[in-house]
């Protein structure tokens, strides 16, 4: 029995270090004293007044704890234990207790202004849904729920972070996702012992088998239609509060070659786009390195006309080909960083200064050659055929640049073989990273480098485990 409500409130406030946004009310009704405590910055004050305080204060008759519970006009009411009070207040609930009972009520009336779902800047579409996840996990769950009017969409929640106690929700389709994968995800998330997580990126190292690897091993997207498609394939989604980025596991490299637009357009055209994307990756990875290798080591392999053109344009350049390409690449990277962080109007000006003035003047001054500018420009544009992997490819581009300059073609091909072998070593949640190419899985290649019609995709991917292989008859 809580005999002194005021004292209880005072103790609770002290436990919460008397933060200024803690609000309390005490209502004295004959023999009954009702105490309310909540965060005014994080709760809906209007609902508190109209649905909680007003019905109780204006009630004519004898009140008890059970009566109070009936009077409250809110949906999310639950009885909590004494040790759960602070957690509930922090999550936006109004905690109510009376002096005649030891029971405690928590009414969730959390309110926080969030933005409406809008098209995410990271994955714009030409056709197809434009909705994107927001920073509010409840909105995000709603966006998923409205795509599955089925009880098979299972959502499990828990919190992570000793200080932040951030809500995590695991979503999967019952009867489709592999139970072992779900359990493994749960186990790994529950084992996280960190003071706080502020973005889903914080969770990634805890979920993957090679946390020090350069390569991305978990899928992430801001689009609910992509998450829905992945859930239908048997994957598990991880939603974290305060971030629009939803993680999906298991992840294979092929997912980066696939784009939302592929599924909302003709499949033959989509296949062509995937082929172009693959070429883009190779150009971005090996373009500058190969150019240097050809110039330094294998000029005799070049057809004579190209050789003359390159020789003509490079003979006056004071730098070695490697320094020249490295300089242009670094310049591009600096411009990219600057334009990314500056406001858009300044970003545009930087691009003009960088691309037109610096590039053009550099060539005219004889410091850099036109072929080198073209090679770097192509490689840097090609980077963004797969924007999700642009960070990894940028690093590798510089590595291959160095290899090309020091050992030539033999080193470049060796480097490529090394990367393929390394990627073959990666496996997360039982999914080989390079599946369905190695190991080769014929049925999964229907949605690989080429895409067949949705009608012909009869089965779910075999690249990773799932409970039900058949999608359609």
């Amino acid at each position: 029995m809580i005999e002194n409500v005021e004292k209880k409130i005072k103790n609770l406030k002290k436990e919460m270090h008397n933060s200024f946004d803690i609000s309390d009310r005490v209502l004295n009704l004959d023999e009954l004293t009702v105490g309310f405590i909540y965060l005014k910055s994080f709760t809906d004050n209007l609902i508190f007044s109209s649905a909680i305080y007003e019905p109780i204060s204006s009630y004519k008759g004898k009140l008890s704890f059970e009566e109070i519970k009936k009077l409250i006009q809110a949906n999310d009411i639950k009885e909590i234990k004494d040790e759960e009070i602070i957690d509930n207040i922090m999550k936006g609930a109004v905690v109510i207790f009376v002096n005649t009972s030891n029971k405690i009520l928590a009414v969730d009336i959390q309110k926080f202004n969030t933005r409406a779902p809008s098209e995410p800047p990271t994955s714009p579409v030409i056709q197809g849904p434009r909705e994107g996840f927001t920073e509010d996990i409840k909105t995000n769950i709603g966006l998923l729920r409205k795509r599955f009017f089925s009880s098979d969409l299972v959502l499990k929640n828990f919190s992570v972070g000793r200080k932040t106690k951030t809500t995590i929700v695991i979503a999967y389709l019952h009867g489709v996702a592999d139970k072992k994968v779900v359990k493994e995800v749960e186990k790994k998330l529950k084992a996280i012992d960190i003071d706080g997580v502020v973005d889903s990126y914080y969770l990634m190292p805890y979920l993957i088998s090679h946390p020090n690897s350069l390569f991305k091993q978990i899928g992430n997207t801001e689009k609910p239609d992509i998450v829905s498609a992945k859930l239908l394939e048997g994957r598990v989604a991880i939603l974290l509060d305060n971030t629009p980025m939803v993680l999906t596991v298991p992840f294979v490299l092929l997912e980066e070659m696939q784009n939302t637009n592929d599924y909302y357009t003709n499949y033959i055209y989509a296949s062509l786009l995937r082929f172009i994307r693959a070429i883009g990756v190779f150009l971005a990875l090996l373009g500058p390195g190969t150019y240097i290798a050809l110039q330094l080591f294998h000029y005799n392999v070049l057809p004579i006309k190209y050789l003359i053109t390159i020789a003509d344009s490079t003979q006056q350049i004071p730098f070695t080909p490697f320094i020249e390409i490295l300089f242009i690449s670094l310049l591009f990277q600096i411009l990219y960083e600057v334009s990314l962080r500056l406001p858009s109007y300044l970003g545009l000006a930087t691009s003009v200064v960088g691309a037109l003035i610096l590039g053009d003047t550099g060539v005219k001054a004889g410091l850099i050659s036109p072929p080198a500018v073209i090679v770097v420009a192509i490689a840097k544009i090609a980077l963004y055929t797969i924007p999700e992997q642009s960070a990894q490819i940028t690093v590798l581009q510089f590595v291959f640049l160095l290899i090309g300059a020091s050992v030539g073609l033999l080193g470049l091909i060796g480097g490529l073989i090394y990367i393929i072998a390394y990627l073959n070593n990666l496996e997360n949640f039982g999914a080989p990273y390079l599946a369905p190419f190695s190991p080769f899985i014929l049925s999964d290649n229907k949605d690989g480098f080429i895409r067949v019609s949705i009608k012909d995709m009869k089965t779910r991917p075999k690249s990773f485990k799932n409970s039900n292989l058949r999608r359609q008859k």
Binding site: F297, L302, P303, G408, L410
Partner: protein, 357 residues
């Protein structure tokens, strides 16, 4: 991770690479030098032996599906025989690696790396070979599988363009059967590559009927080798011995084909990919054999020992075409006894012992 196995498709692709790789550069020219156009029969005879070796492997794998070749030797012939066998295997794989390195080094130096030092090739090849040899057989198999479509497309392109360049039919039967026989013996060391399967025996997943897949890949490799040899002999006819790098030379015949430009560069890329894989598979076989000789030593010791020996031998022996040919024709044929005599006889002994029981 290191103990994981490769599936039969991956084993087949490795077999394809290893059978095909070292027979399309110097060999056609060398066989022509010894036996004229009938050098092609030397190919046929040697391939028959190769298929025989593969048949033996499939036979053994069917009988003893889950145990290694070393276990078989240990159980049937004792530990000392096992050590002797695997020392010979180690030597064989090491010598093969030296030969492949020599041939490809000369090829690369002549064609794409003018005036480059051997050190450049070593710092390219050794790290990748070591990494693949350190990885599990599954990683090696999967990597081969990932690159196989590229290898196949490039190979088909090379073969078709090589055959297009054919413009003459040479005269047959210019050489005696004895010359063909001698040519076969002298270059027998370029064959017998299926021996690596015996070393990998317990690392290959095998189900009933999988033998056909291995035959398919071996057959495919043999067909491609023969097609390139035919294209080479029919393109250069009586001057074949003057053109050492068969696949590159046949494509070089039509280097400015239409708007495609220097298509012979494609052959260089193919040779580079094949060289990496072939050497990695042999190094992996070397390390497995090394582990059988010194079971208590880790894989790192096998790799470090190899690297040291390799660097010393490469520094002392190689970097000369004549010396390489001499080495291949005089010393290496003896090592082929391991492929074509030692392993078959042992296998027959196992099978005879099993039948008696």
């Amino acid at each position: 991770m290191r103990d994981k196995t490769m599936n039969i498709w991956q084993a087949g692709i490795c077999l394809f690479i290893i059978i095909f790789a070292n027979k399309i550069l110097l060999l056609p020219s060398l066989l022509y030098r010894l036996a004229n156009i009938e050098g092609m029969f030397a190919y046929l005879f040697s391939f028959m032996l190769e298929i025989g070796l593969l048949t033996l492997f499939i036979f053994l794998k069917r009988k003893y599906s889950h145990i290694s070749f070393s276990q078989l030797i240990r159980e049937k012939l004792g530990v000392i025989t096992l050590k002797i066998f695997y020392i010979l295997f180690c030597l064989y794989f090491f010598c093969k690696l030296i030969l492949i390195y020599n041939v490809t080094y000369i090829f690369f130096k002549d064609l794409i790396y003018k005036n480059s030092d051997s050190f450049l090739f070593i710092i390219c090849l050794l790290p990748i070979m070591n990494y693949l040899a350190y990885s599990s057989p599954r990683v090696v198999g999967r990597t081969a599988m990932a690159l196989f479509p590229i290898i196949l497309v490039v190979l088909i392109f090379c073969t078709v363009t090589s055959l297009i360049s054919v413009h003459d039919i040479p005269l047959f039967f210019q050489s005696s059967p004895l010359k063909v026989f001698l040519a076969t013996i002298k270059h027998i060391s370029s064959f017998g590559d299926a021996i690596f399967l015996f070393v990998f025996m317990d690392k290959i997943e095998y189900k009933k009927g999988d033998g056909k897949k291995l035959y398919f890949f071996a057959g495919l490799a043999i067909i491609f080798v023969l097609l390139i040899a035919v294209a080479f002999y029919f393109s250069y006819t009586y001057t074949s011995f003057m053109h050492p790098y068969a696949i590159f030379e046949t494509m070089g015949n039509i280097k400015d084909y239409g708007g495609l430009g220097r298509i012979d560069a494609v052959a260089v890329i193919l040779v580079i990919i094949l060289t990496y894989f072939q050497m990695s598979i042999y190094l992996k076989s070397f390390t497995i054999s090394f582990k059988e000789i010194f079971p208590k030593l880790s894989l790192n010791y096998a790799l470090i020992s190899f690297d040291f020996l390799f660097l010393i031998v490469v520094y002392l022996l190689v970097r000369n075409l004549e010396r390489t040919i001499l080495y291949a024709e005089s010393i290496l044929p003896y090592f082929s006894l391991i492929s074509f005599v030692l392993v078959p006889i042992t296998s027959i002994v196992f099978l005879a012992l099993k039948r008696r029981r």
